[in-house]
């Protein structure tokens, strides 16, 4: 692989476009068919940030997303899969990007999502009852896009998220769970959407997030772990929302992210030299956008979608959260 110090825009476009092809002879394709709708969201987001949303076939993509909606209202990861919050959010994000939210029964979707909130404010991923702050984020983000946050108890939702904050200021999967950058994005993003980031210790969290940057410039997800390009999104977006992007070395990070590109196939890998995939491609590109890489559309850190799309949606302000900041 040749030195990759430039963003290989055209290579990434071709890489993502080629993913539209049904690769029935590929084991990997079958192994990921349950999360295809996530894959489409990652690919489409990367393309939109690159300024080429319409590289993907709009009609076919919308039809695909609609085929993932189940009668309960939620979306599955693919046409034959059960509804789940993880895939419902991606489905709505894709439709939002194509300005096609009007093509589904939004009320039904919103009600299904709201029905997953528990008494303690947490959210189940689906009818089986698994609880995870990822699902809090998916529900809050999705309902925000549908302008139906009124259907849930936002105070309780925030109360639950706050219970997941740890000694280091960051957040885990559930209360008592160890801090992890991915889960932290889910919690910080959800709190940001609900306009209540002032309820957490921002300096403490900012410091923990800044310490994710390693000497080689990359970001890890928690202490003593290796750097991974997806943390360029999970960590960076949180720093952006906390107003502390400058607490890490942007230049070094940018150089590290660019090294994760594959100049033969296009796309980004988790680390330099590894195999690429569309997930890391999305977060490599959105991360670069946050770092101010030229000719990339600015990204809204709360939603991991472009400001352009979010602004176009003209979302209502969220219901007021009336919790007081507790003395930690």
């Amino acid at each position: 692989m040749a030195a990759t110090d430039q963003l290989l825009r055209d290579k990434h476009r071709s890489y993502i476009v080629a993913l539209q092809e049904e690769k029935l002879d590929s084991f990997e394709y079958w192994m990921t068919e349950h999360l295809r709708v996530n894959g489409v969201y990652w690919g489409l987001t990367a393309l939109e940030v690159l300024g080429h949303l319409n590289d993907l076939d709009r009609t076919k993509t919308i039809a695909f997303v609609k085929s993932c909606q189940r009668e309960e209202g939620g979306f599955g990861g693919n046409a034959n899969h059960d509804p789940h919050l993880l895939y419902s959010l991606s489905a709505l994000q894709i439709l939002a990007m194509f300005d096609a939210l009007g093509e589904i029964d939004q009320q039904k979707t919103a009600q299904w999502i709201a029905s997953l909130q528990n008494e303690d404010g947490s959210f189940n991923g689906d009818k089986w009852g698994e609880v995870d702050t990822r699902f809090s984020y998916c529900a809050i983000s999705a309902l925000s896009l549908l302008n139906r946050l009124d259907l849930i108890d936002v105070n309780k939702a925030v109360e639950f998220i706050l219970k997941c904050q740890n000694f280091d200021g960051a957040f885990g999967v559930i209360p008592d769970a160890e801090s992890h950058a991915g889960q932290t994005f889910c919690c910080v993003g959800a709190l940001a959407i609900l306009n209540c980031l002032d309820l957490i210790d921002r300096d403490l969290l900012g410091w923990w997030l800044a310490e994710r940057q390693l000497k080689d410039g990359g970001l890890n997800g928690r202490p003593e772990k290796l750097a991974d390009v997806c943390y360029s999104w999970w960590v960076l977006s949180c720093l952006d929302l906390l107003g502390k992007l400058e607490w890490i070395d942007s230049d070094k990070l940018k150089k590290w992210i660019l090294k994760c590109q594959d100049d033969e196939t296009g796309g980004f890998a988790d680390k330099p030299g590894n195999m690429v995939d569309v997930y890391h491609t999305c977060f490599g590109i959105t991360g670069l956008s946050l770092l101010g890489e030229p000719n990339l559309k600015p990204v809204n850190a709360k939603y991991c979608m472009t400001h352009e799309t979010i602004d176009r949606l003209k979302l209502n302000p969220p219901p007021a959260v009336t919790l007081q900041k507790t003395k930690l």
Partner: protein, 314 residues
């Protein structure tokens, strides 16, 4: 999707690989179609259960089929006598142990185990042993830690016994963030009604963390935990706070005498001084500027601390 090295191969090898890949894809897609068809036919038989097991063994992230498997288990349960139900779920736990060997970090797999525990009486003491075993292989597996806490609550394990688990991990390797994190949960909970005992426990923790710091001054787990200990002292035993700060400043100086460029020791000194309030501005500013040289990645974070130095009324 993580950690797969890209290796260049010859054309011959590439062809071989494609053929192998095609074969695996066909096997999987055939099996997948079979299982989804069984589901569409509402087949909740033991044979259907077996088929889901075969698919999930290959792809434990195929979440819809975990749902189908649960439907089958519930259906079988409704038709069986108590002894048979016991065997059914024992077999499920055994099946999951096998899956966990290959998929130790799959959210879906761990949830299935938890779901079994919610639907059937299981031996939670055994579950704790399973967790300890898995932590021997990977002491940072947070899925396993979360499941451990779930099992510990069900088993009514004491805070003491769980603290002992963290201690044995720390004694083996002090750089275990997951173990320190668990202590940060257990200690306040254990002494929630006993502030004096908490204070004594926190004093012991300061000694413990000092050992960890001296074992590896560059390990951030210990220093982040140390920062939390100071915070706990401040919140729960304000009378002792100044004494603690002086003690810990002394500890930092001890370490810096051996390792003058330990950025964590210098940073901790700075944070302690900021907490103390009554500090020498010039000395503290000089320390923070030194940090900017030692750790340029975070120079703006240190700048924010310098800002606090300059804006603290003395």
């Amino acid at each position: 999707m993580h950690g797969r090295l890209k290796v260049k191969t010859t054309e011959e090898k590439q062809r071989e690989k494609r053929e192998q890949d095609k074969k695996r894809a066909l096997e999987y897609s055939t099996l997948s179609k079979k299982v989804f068809d069984l589901r569409a036919a509402k087949d909740f038989s033991a044979d259907a259960l077996k088929a889901t097991g075969m698919l999930l063994s290959v792809n434990a992230d195929c979440y819809t089929i975990w749902g189908y498997r649960r439907e089958i288990l519930l259906s079988l349960k409704s038709q069986k006598a108590p002894e048979e139900i016991k065997d059914l779920f024992a077999a499920e736990l055994k099946f999951l142990e096998g899956i966990l060997q290959h998929w130790p970090k799959s959210y879906w797999v761990w949830f299935q185990r938890q779901w079994v525990a919610e639907h059937h009486e299981i031996d939670f003491a055994h579950e704790l042993v399973l967790c300890s075993l898995m932590h021997k292989a990977d002491s940072r597996n947070f899925h396993c830690w979360n499941y451990r806490r779930f099992a510990a609550a069900k088993a009514k394990a004491t805070a003491e016994s769980e603290l002992a688990i963290t201690m044995s991990l720390i004694e083996n390797d002090p750089s275990n963030y997951s173990a320190w994190h668990y202590r940060s949960i257990l200690l306040p909970r254990k002494f929630s009604d006993a502030p004096d005992e908490l204070s004594a426990a926190i004093s012991e923790e300061f000694d413990l963390i000092k050992q960890a710091i001296w074992t590896d001054p560059s390990d951030q787990s210990a220093w982040l935990y140390h920062h939390w200990l100071v915070g706990v002292r401040k919140r729960t035993d304000k009378a002792q706070l100044m004494e603690t700060i002086e003690q810990e400043l002394g500890s930092c100086d001890e370490l810096l005498a051996e390792e003058p460029n330990s950025r964590w020791a210098i940073l901790t000194k700075a944070l302690l001084n900021l907490e103390k309030g009554d500090f020498d501005s010039d000395a503290l500013s000089s320390d923070l500027k030194k940090l900017q040289e030692l750790d340029p990645l975070h120079k703006n974070y240190y700048e924010s601390l310098l800002h606090r130095v300059n804006h603290t009324a003395v």
